[in-house]
């Protein structure tokens, strides 16, 4: 992967982006047990998969989601969070 498609600015060189980790749903802190909370804080899905990840386009300050295969390093699609149906 040498370039990445920012949903706002189109394809840009990878050097302009920062990786923000996998998109994870936070459990309700008040309702979650210690075990669920520890699982959320520490555990990750580190195995081979197409994962939804946060990426940040630094020059324009855009956070977005990329669906990326973490073995082949190919991006399936990128979109703004919550707008995956709009930006195909």
């Amino acid at each position: 992967m040498k370039s990445l498609r920012c949903p706002i600015n189109g394809p840009r060189p990878l050097q302009e982006f920062q990786y923000g980790g996998e998109l994870r749903e936070m459990p309700d802190p008040d309702a979650a047990s210690d075990e669920e909370w520890a699982d959320y804080v520490f555990h990750r899905n580190g195995g081979p998969a197409v994962k939804r990840e946060w990426w940040y386009h630094v020059p324009s300050g855009t956070w977005f989601i990329a669906e990326r295969d973490n073995q082949s390093d190919t991006v399936v699609r990128t979109y703004l969070y919550g707008r995956e149906t709009v930006h195909e």
């Binding site: 050097q15 520890a38 520490f42 580190g46 195995g47 994962k51 990840e53 973490n70 390093d73």
Partner: protein
């Protein structure tokens, strides 16, 4: 060409002894199956046979011996870590390493060089003082030194970094810091284990692990099913493949780490020089090549591709410290897989699955731990109970919020 070599080459059969056997068939059952034929797996097999009396052991390696992290690291051995748990563990490893050539009757080219961790800021120097204090308390030879001391030991160094970085204001100096020939470590342990009855099966991939009633029952390989009650996963960068098979949640995320070697030079660099600010560690191998590594690649990736970004960045930082290397050529570059934990300490020992033992989370600090991890994991597998030296590293520490924050790990920004 020597006459003897020519005669040898023209022979139909090769009578020279092999380092280890290549058994044609897998047995239907083993007492212990070790997944991963790297340094850690082979060391565990060696100590299982030698110290625990368990010889019905198979080491399954999907590629070739020592082809993963063992053959891809920069071969630095040291024990100047920050946490007492880490420092004690790595010190035990250094002591095993110092005697390893004799133990395995195989030359490891173990070479004590003295290890400098450069500090470019007062904040960084404060961490080095902290590390020195922990080290000295545990009897580890380690001290903070000033710029004159560094310049005297490494006259070629440019302490001002050519003005591109903050100047070097001191360093943590660890005289026992050493390098060794990493392939020899894997081969030496393999030969030692093989001679004691352990079977080593290369090109044998594990496809699934059978769990019945919360306990290990067997292993499905691409060469058939094997029964076993104990499995040790020692695959470092491939651990998440294995833990996905058994449904175990871990904090592990895989990042590539890249390294390179230059063309061979006459010996000039005695010491190992590390700068966390420059994301650089460099030493000169016994062949004369400069071996240098960088920090982790910036995003998760289970692939051993190498990149131009890395070669450019690392070369620039090398020139900041050693401007004399301007005409030196890079010979090879490569990547290894690092299974990173959030606290930069390994994950070792028993797991909630009976008979499934894990030796993982080796991130950027695996090679130097090879002997001690083999010895402690062998004891853990034999006794079904975490060895005293590795209790703090159990996978359950995350559920208990009892992390072992190891900021002395390599290529970790401080």
């Amino acid at each position: 060409m020597p006459h003897r070599l020519l005669k040898f080459g023209l022979r139909r059969h090769y009578p020279e002894p092999r380092m280890f056997r290549a058994p044609a068939e897998l047995k239907p059952e083993y007492d212990v199956i070790i997944i991963g034929g790297g340094g850690h797996g082979l060391a565990a097999a060696y100590y299982l046979a030698k110290e625990q009396g368990i010889t019905n052991v198979a080491v399954l390696e999907k590629g070739y011996l020592g082809g993963g992290g063992t053959g891809r690291n920069t071969a630095i051995i040291r024990s100047n870590y920050l946490t007492p748990e880490g420092a004690r563990f790595y010190q035990a490893s250094v002591e095993l390493f110092q005697d390893l050539s004799r133990e395995l009757d195989f030359n490891m080219f173990y070479s004590e060089r003295g290890h400098f961790t450069l500090a470019h800021s007062p904040a960084s120097l404060r961490i080095q003082r902290w590390r020195a204090a922990v080290n000295q308390h545990l009897g580890i030879d380690s001290e903070v030194v000033g710029p004159e001391f560094i310049k005297h030991a490494v006259p070629e160094i440019d302490l001002t970094c050519g003005g591109h970085q903050a100047p070097v204001c001191g360093a943590l100096y660890h005289p026992p810091g050493a390098i060794a020939r990493h392939d020899a470590v894997a081969w030496g342990y393999a030969r030692g284990a093989d001679r004691r009855g352990v079977e080593i099966h290369q090109k044998t991939a594990v496809n699934d692990i059978e769990i019945r009633d919360g306990a290990v029952a067997g292993v499905h390989t691409d060469r058939g099913y094997i029964k076993t009650r104990k499995v040790l996963s020692a695959v470092a960068g491939w651990t998440t493949h294995i833990t996905d098979m058994v449904g175990l949640r871990t904090p592990l995320v895989i990042h590539p780490l890249q390294a390179l070697v230059t063309e061979p030079l006459k010996p000039w660099l005695d010491n190992i020089v590390v700068s966390a600010s420059l994301h650089l560690y460099v030493s000169q191998s016994s062949r004369g090549e400069l071996v240098a590594g960088a920090s982790l690649d910036p995003y998760e990736l289970i692939s051993m591709r190498s990149s131009l970004d890395f070669a450019e960045g690392l070369s620039a930082h090398m020139l900041d410290l050693f401007p004399c290397l301007g005409d030196v050529t890079v010979m090879r570059q490569w990547a290894g897989l690092c299974d990173m934990t959030p606290d930069f300490s390994p994950i070792m020992g028993t797991t909630p699955i009976r008979g499934f033992y894990i030796d993982a989370g080796w991130g950027t600090w695996g090679f130097k731990a090879t002997p001690i991890s083999g010895q402690t994991m062998a004891a853990t597998v034999a006794d079904n109970q975490d060895h005293e030296l590795i209790q703090a590293f159990n996978l359950s520490r995350f559920g208990r919020f009892q992390l072992v924050g190891e900021k002395g790990a390599a290529s970790v920004g401080h």
